[in-house]
């Protein structure tokens, strides 16, 4: 088990390093840097000025060295400008030159500086991840119980009318990506032209305080898409359990149907969906990006889109690192959980 974990951890770290390097390489291609220079400086900069801007900020050195700087493996660049002031990657205006650390990368816990928000990436991302955490909490709270309920209700009497209608519902939700269910829900519940006007079509105010009015639609939108899949899984698992021998024995004993479902079937039917729920996390990540963009909720997904659109390199790097780590960690946990739940699988 220990060797398995160590090997998996090694592969995970290697994957994160490879992927962040790819992101770093692509965001640091020359045209991307020119775009950054024009966003940061002025649109009317001449090509020479853009070159000088890029050189002054240390962007013109080999990409591999700068990646190592970002990691914190090699000392950051320094330069003394015409006024004799020390500039560099790790130089902070408030800090005396003697106190300036030589290395500042993610290994030192420094995630860099966002060129658009002019703020530390760590601080921005802490806030944004907390917002997304709240969203995810509510999504999970709505999605998991209702998906399991739908699945179990459909699976306990396979082929019945309830099963047919609930299965159709589950198929429809899996065929509806967030950007469609979101648009439809906004039109039904929030549009001033035709809709019911129960909720708000934007969750921008939810950052300051969550209300039923501004948070229902984003949570519903995200929960709907993930729900269908979990519901179909738990339906299949429930239907399988309901045909097993011990359920038949219980029936022959004369146990009531409700008792059979609650006492005997439920527990065995819920094992399979739980690994599926864990594997939903990577899916939810894409959903978070779409929903936060659609409802203008300033969380992690919104930050990712903004950072990618503005080529805010260090913010984007940390965002992609977080996203990749989430995907890989859930894969690892679900693998371990699967082995733990299913003793027939041996680790070798």
């Amino acid at each position: 088990m220990l060797i398995f974990l160590l090997r998996r951890a090694g592969v995970t770290v290697l994957t994160i390093v490879c992927l962040t390097f790819i992101v770093f390489y692509v965001t640091n291609l020359h045209p991307q840097l020119e775009k950054l220079a024009r966003i940061e400086g002025t649109q009317r900069m001449s090509d020479e000025q853009v070159q000088i801007w890029i050189e002054n900020r240390g962007y013109n050195r080999p990409v591999i060295i700068r990646y190592a700087e970002w990691l914190g493996l090699v000392p950051g660049w320094t330069r003394t400008d015409d006024k004799g002031i020390l500039r560099g990657r790790c130089v902070d205006v408030d800090l005396a030159p003697e106190d300036t650390p030589s290395r500042c990368g993610i290994l030192q816990g420094d995630f860099g500086y966002s060129t658009v928000s002019r703020e530390d990436v760590g601080a921005i991302l802490g806030r944004r991840l907390a917002s997304t955490g709240i969203l995810m909490f509510w999504v999970m709270l709505v999605m998991v119980p209702s998906a399991l309920a739908v699945g179990i209700l459909a699976g306990m009497r396979e082929g019945s009318k309830t099963d047919r209608s609930l299965s159709t519902f589950a198929i429809v939700t899996t065929a509806t990506p967030e950007y469609i269910s979101g648009v439809v829900l906004v039109i039904i519940f929030a549009s001033s032209a035709v809709g019911l006007r129960w909720f708000k079509g934007s969750a921008a105010t939810a950052i300051d305080g969550i209300t039923f009015e501004n948070f229902t639609l984003p949570v519903m939108t995200m929960a709907l898409y993930g729900m269908g899949y979990i519901a179909r899984m738990s339906r299949a698992s429930m239907a399988e359990v309901m045909t097993s021998q011990y359920i038949r024995t219980a029936r022959l004993k004369g146990v009531s149907f409700a008792q059979i479902v609650i006492r005997h079937a439920l527990r065995n039917a819920l094992i399979a969906p739980f690994t599926v729920i864990l594997l939903q996390f990577p899916w939810l990540l894409t959903g978070v990006v779409i929903v936060e963009t659609l409802f203008n909720y300033k969380g992690f997904g919104w930050t990712l889109v903004q950072a990618a659109g503005n080529n805010d390199i260090e913010l984007l790097m940390t965002c992609s690192m977080v996203a990749v780590a989430v995907v890989l960690l859930t894969q690892l946990i679900s693998d371990i959980g699967y082995v733990y739940l299913n003793p027939r699988i041996r680790l070798s």
């Binding site: 992927l19 020359h30 990506p177 965002c319």
Partner: protein, 408 residues
């Protein structure tokens, strides 16, 4: 003039779709009549779910086909479904509700006008052309890549498998949206040095272009391996097939991957190429994993052992013994994956990374419409429902196919 009532609007829309209804009726009548002779396709008509799914999918395929109408030498064979040019703007009909007439004219927008005064109905109909044109082809390319790499990875195993599995997990761990942003932004299309090709054509060594050059080579490799392994003992037949695949493949390849087709038949605009490449790139690793898993499973069967004892080559066993026996799950996954690709294309459009800003594809139209969603809901709703129905149809079709292929 009085705006049209909803009954009139729906009546008019049903009327516009007449060519599609006629064609669907013909397809269904023919298929049900001969369903016993049509193999797996015919069996689809034994399941209600499969028929509904197939109906929805064929509806959109025919809509895409007939959208601008078909005419031959001035003679209209099929009248166009779209009532207007999807790009034409009439300022007076900006954001107008469905069924509004333009002042002092007979011009009416069935589903209203969008924020630039374009016809929502015609844009929806024309949008199907882009989706139906890109999604199945991109999925087919992803399957070629996945099959050509997945079969040997599963069959030979070893270091080749380890490296490819690591690479595919690498792509799968990438957040899809970030990947799209990185591949589709115009700055990245311009990054690279220019290479001079033949006939004065130029090619930029940007990341999407290199990816295209790599990914688009797989179909050629696939067909070469296919013919070579099957007809190895009949050199004449093999040489003819290989020559045909090579000539046609390299011709298409020069046009699609390098945009330098000598006779300009094949070609893609740089934006379309980017969208296409990113969708293929995202889908291939999953197909690779599925094919690899199926190969590992089928490899242990007796008929594979029999072929090995006969002394068949590895590629013959992979392509002509293992692959045909893996077709059931692969066909089902192909349908599901077209649906997923449709969702991905919509996502690209939704983030404004679509084919072009003006393009009527459903994702971009939803993106245009969502900005004024709570005041003018009508421009975003038709493309949203269209995309949903197409994906739903593909899912139902896959369910029907799975049901029918499990039955025997």
């Amino acid at each position: 003039m009085e705006p049209l009532s909803w009954t009139q609007i729906f009546g008019q829309m049903l009327y516009q779709f007449i060519p599609v209804w006629v064609a669907i009726a013909l397809v269904f009548a023919f298929s049900i009549r001969f369903k016993r002779k049509l193999g797996l396709y015919g069996k689809l008509f034994d399941s209600v779910i499969g028929m509904i799914g197939f109906g929805i999918v064929i509806f959109w395929i025919l809509t895409a086909l007939f959208a601008p109408g078909i005419s031959l030498g001035g003679l209209t064979l099929v009248p166009s479904i779209a009532t207007f040019d999807p790009l034409a703007q009439i300022a007076a009909l900006k954001n107008k509700v469905p069924g509004t007439f333009a002042p002092n004219s007979e011009i009416v927008y069935l589903l209203g006008g969008d924020n630039l005064g374009r016809d929502v109905f015609s844009r929806m109909v024309h949008g199907s052309r882009l989706v139906i044109g890109i999604a199945p082809v991109a999925t087919a390319f992803a399957f070629m890549v996945g099959i050509t790499l997945g079969l040997p990875a599963g069959y030979f195993g070893g270091r080749f498998d380890t490296v490819l599995s690591f690479l595919s997990n690498l792509v799968l761990a990438f957040p899809v949206i970030l990947l799209f942003y990185l591949l589709v932004t115009p700055e990245i299309q311009a990054a690279g040095s220019e290479v001079n090709l033949w006939l004065g054509k130029k090619w930029i060594t940007s990341i999407p272009n290199i990816l295209a050059a790599v990914l688009f080579a797989f179909p050629i490799i696939f067909f070469l391996l296919l013919w070579n392994s099957k007809f190895f003992t009949q050199p004449t037949k093999r040489n003819i097939l290989v020559a045909i695949s090579l000539v046609f493949g390299l011709w298409a390849y020069s046009g699609l991957a390098f945009n330098a087709d000598p006779v300009s038949v094949f070609g893609m605009s740089p934006n379309l190429l980017n969208v296409f490449v990113s969708v293929v790139f995202v889908n291939s690793p999953t197909v690779f994993r599925i094919v690899r898993g199926l190969t590992l499973d089928i490899q242990t069967r007796d008929y594979v052992a029999a072929a090995q004892t006969r002394g068949e080559g590895s590629w013959y066993i992979m392509l002509w013994e293992i692959l045909p026996n893996a077709r059931g799950p692969l066909i089902v996954d192909f349908c599901l994956r077209i649906g997923y690709t449709t969702i991905l294309l919509g996502t690209l459009g939704f983030f404004g990374l679509g084919v072009s800003p003006e393009s009527p594809d459903w994702g971009s139209t939803i993106n245009d419409g969502r900005k004024l969603l709570s005041i003018f809901p009508h421009p975003a709703l038709p493309p949203a429902l269209s995309l949903m129905s197409l994906v739903l149809g593909l899912n139902l079709l896959a369910d029907g196919l799975r049901e029918e292929s499990l039955r025997d």
